[in-house]
């Protein structure tokens, strides 16, 4: 033990210091070149994120889960662009089809499709097509426009480019032989491209009839399009809700942890109170209570915020409000715990001793060390938000028609479960896969970002 009692704070005698600490004058000489060289980094130090990424990549289960989740993302976000059906369109002639089944009209058109090179069929379009009667229409083929006039209430008509001649032709469905696909009667509308009127509407053409891979529902909506859309809604709700929880929870927890004392005490009592409220009861109440005022606000307030809310629908806004009110408490507890733990660390004390301000300590020491816990908790919050949303939609309180979420699709399917059990299987399986992969990715992230937690 060094004897510091010999050192007087007022009269510093160098020899006394040297003697007390066992140092000699040589210890204070500048380092030589050779000594400096030994301190130079030989290898670049691995950053925290690089290290975590390496650990995550080594975890096979999590990598596979991540891959499957990315497939789900592609299904939900890119899928709707690849299929010609949309989640809200009702195809009157294609009600209650089974997976990969064609309706009579679709089968007919499908059999005739070898005759055409890109066509538009009124029987394939949504029920609203007879109402679109603005006069002139056109279809585009190989960059050329082909104008024509569709007559009022003309249904069961195929308009397209004849393969053999390249002419724009019109064929009635009744003139197609269902067995061979041979076309008996053709009306030539124009030979080669023709200029449409300026106000003409473009009609989309297809090469063949796209199958309803998951079938259609009782009002003729394509179930695959709805499932894709529902998956997108569910994933977005999950991510948004997790972000809301992250923001509110981490700010609340950080304030509580940093402030300490009475404020901390009061804030934590509030957290405990909210924690002990059975949230599902309040969620149900909130859903019913908030729905009408929200709808009122969306309808009558002209602000851009209200319009954005209107695009989402009052059901989804209700879910977000619920998360903002009730679900941030776990996050707040975790953040507070982290802050309390980190604040006691020696390097924070050292930073304070060196005169670092609050801002610098939060930015340099607390935040970087909390990030792991924040990422993990947020990631695991997403599946639980998806769970809650699907639960509410299942009870008929989540998203409103014609929008869909995976929960509301399951709920719709339950009405007709005796006749069409497959309608339940697709959304249910995709919901399970999304939740499962997110759970596994979250576990992997926890192992990668916070190795101390790994058993």
């Amino acid at each position: 033990m060094a004897d510091f009692s010999k050192i007087s704070p007022f009269q510093v005698d160098p020899s006394a210091i040297e003697e007390a600490m066992g140092l000699t004058a040589e210890d204070f000489a500048p380092a030589s070149e050779g000594e400096k060289e030994s301190m130079v980094e030989k290898r670049k130090s691995v950053s925290y994120w690089r290290d975590a990424a390496r650990r995550f990549k080594a975890n096979t289960v999590s990598m596979v889960a991540l891959f499957i989740f990315i497939c789900c993302l592609i299904f939900a976000f890119i899928g709707p662009k690849l299929i010609p059906y949309s989640y809200g369109d009702q195809y009157r002639s294609s009600l209650k089809l089974g997976p990969r089944e064609y309706s009579e009209g679709e089968a007919l058109i499908q059999s005739a499709s070898s005759y055409f090179d890109g066509f538009y069929a009124s029987g394939l379009q949504a029920g609203s097509i007879t109402a679109v009667m603005k006069g002139d229409h056109y279809i585009t083929y190989k960059g050329n426009k082909y104008g024509f006039t569709q007559e009022q209430n003309e249904e069961g008509v195929i308009i397209g480019i004849e393969k053999s001649t390249g002419n724009l032709v019109k064929v009635y469905e009744k003139d197609v032989d269902p067995a061979t696909g041979a076309v008996n009667k053709v009306t030539v509308l124009s030979e080669g491209p023709s200029e449409p009127a300026e106000s003409a509407d473009e009609l989309k053409t297809v090469k063949s009839v796209f199958p309803h891979i998951f079938g259609t529902d009782s009002v003729g909506r394509d179930l695959m399009a709805r499932t894709m859309y529902g998956a997108r809604v569910s994933i977005l709700i999950g991510i948004m809700a997790a972000l809301i929880v992250l923001i509110i929870g981490s700010i609340y927890g950080a304030i509580s942890g940093l402030a300490g004392g009475t404020l901390d005490f009061i804030m934590m009592r509030i957290v405990e109170l909210i924690y002990s409220i059975p949230e599902v009861l309040i969620v149900l109440l909130l859903q019913v209570v908030l729905r009408e005022p929200l709808q009122e606000w969306i309808d009558h307030s002209g602000s851009s915020l209200a319009q954005a809310a209107g695009a989402l629908g009052s059901g989804i806004i209700c879910i977000f409000i619920t998360f903002a009110l009730l679900y941030w408490v776990t996050m707040a507890r975790i953040v507070r715990g982290q802050v309390l733990q980190l604040r006691k660390q020696e390097y924070v004390t050292a930073a304070i001793a060196l005169g670092a301000g609050n801002k610098r300590i939060i930015k340099r020491h607390l935040l970087p060390n909390c990030v792991g816990a924040l990422v993990i908790t947020t990631c695991l919050q997403i599946p639980s938000a998806i769970f809650l949303e699907s639960f509410l939609s299942f009870l008929g309180l989540g998203v409103s028609a014609p929008m869909a979420s995976l929960g509301s699709l399951c709920s719709d399917a339950l009405q007709t479960i005796t006749l069409y059990p497959y309608r339940l299987v697709y959304p249910a399986v995709i919901l399970t896969i999304i939740v499962l992969t997110l759970n596994l990715v979250g576990d992997g992230l926890r192992d990668a970002l916070d190795p101390r937690l790994k058993k």
Binding site: M268, E272, L273, S276, I277, P278, E279, V280, L281, I282, L284, L285, L286, V288, V289, E292, P293, E296, L340, P383, F387, S390, F391, F394, L395, G407, C410, S411, A413, L414, I417, T418, P421, L424, V425, A428, L431, T432, V435, L436, N439, L440, K455
Partner: protein, 313 residues
């Protein structure tokens, strides 16, 4: 211990009071009156409001609720079964008993099956049995209760006709199977996962090695030494389970058409039957809060090392 229990009891009552206040103000925030129908005149609505005390200031109404509840009077239904005391609806029409039966059996199944499964997995670590159980529990916690309920309904009841689609009053054994399975499967898996993790933790402790060195049989080691220590996280989890089982009961009772409290709650929230909503919320909340209290005290009994007064830090 006694002080702690009393303190917690006080906190629980305060929470209940706050829940009552929140519910009350939320209900009054719903636009429109419960008596508003196409035929009703303003005078009729005013009369009905006066009859049920809805014309008084909100704070007085809230006070009346609290005082009446303390007396055991839960009010009378305004809409769904007009004039019937809410207490009779909840407790005497079999709704409460049905829901409690379902909930307790599910909880028991979660514990009785989940804990042994976790022990088996931990003791056979690395074998195919452990692998199988791990896959099962990981998938199990990712399946939402209503998905499982509807899939069971579709396969066992609709396709195979082995079990009834309508469980009704739960009179025979068969009608229990699907509701209980869909309510408890998630928790069986979760409890098994928890038990496995904490069991593995306990197995590596020194006192287990000592016991083994003394020649204690494996069965005894698991039952006496490892299990007791690995039960703590499981017990902590049982509080949230109760709340979760109530959520489950909403779905399960709606899916299998069981006329219990969960199904009824969803109905009365939609029809705005104020006294019934209030009473049901309070009864269900009281149940959850009570279970949390029991869990906290059980926690202390299992592990005397935990000091309850200062568990925050």
């Amino acid at each position: 211990m006694v002080t702690y229990t009393l303190k917690r009891l006080g906190a629980a009552l305060l929470t209940l009071l706050i829940i009552m206040a929140i519910t009350f103000f939320l209900m009054n925030a719903i636009p429109g009156s419960p008596f508003l129908t196409e035929k009703s005149t303003p005078q009729q609505i005013a009369l009905a409001n006066a009859k049920y005390g809805l014309d008084k200031p909100l704070i007085i109404q809230l006070k009346n609720y609290v005082v009446n509840y303390l007396k055991g009077d839960l009010g009378t239904s305004l809409k769904m079964q007009e004039g019937t005391p809410v207490r009779d609806i909840i407790f005497h029409q079999g709704k409460f008993v049905l829901s409690i039966k379902l909930g307790l059996i599910s909880l028991a199944v979660a514990v009785i099956i989940g804990i042994p499964l976790g022990c088996i997995a931990a003791y056979n670590r690395g074998t195919w049995l452990d692998g199988f159980l791990r896959v099962m529990t990981t998938v199990g916690v990712a399946i939402p209760g209503f998905v499982l309920a509807t899939l069971l309904l579709a396969s066992l009841a609709v396709k195979l006709h082995v079990l009834p689609t309508n469980s009704g009053q739960l009179t025979d054994f068969k009608s229990y199977i699907m509701p209980i399975l869909s309510m408890s499967f998630y928790y069986v898996c979760y409890v098994a996962k928890l038990t496995r993790t904490s069991m593995l933790d306990a197995i590596n402790q020194d006192y287990i090695r000592t016991a083994r060195a003394k020649g204690v049989k494996t069965k005894m080691i698991v039952l006496k030494h490892a299990l007791r220590n690995s039960l703590i996280p499981v017990i902590t989890y049982l509080g949230p389970v109760t709340a979760g089982i109530i959520t489950g009961s909403f779905v399960v009772e709606s899916t299998f058409q069981i006329p219990g409290l969960g199904k009824y709650y969803v109905q009365c929230v939609m029809s705005r039957d104020y006294p019934v909503i209030m009473a049901t919320t309070v009864v269900l909340s009281a149940l959850v809060i009570f279970m949390n209290l029991v869990v906290d005290i059980a926690y202390k009994i299992v592990d005397p090392r935990i000091t309850l007064t200062n568990k925050e830090d």
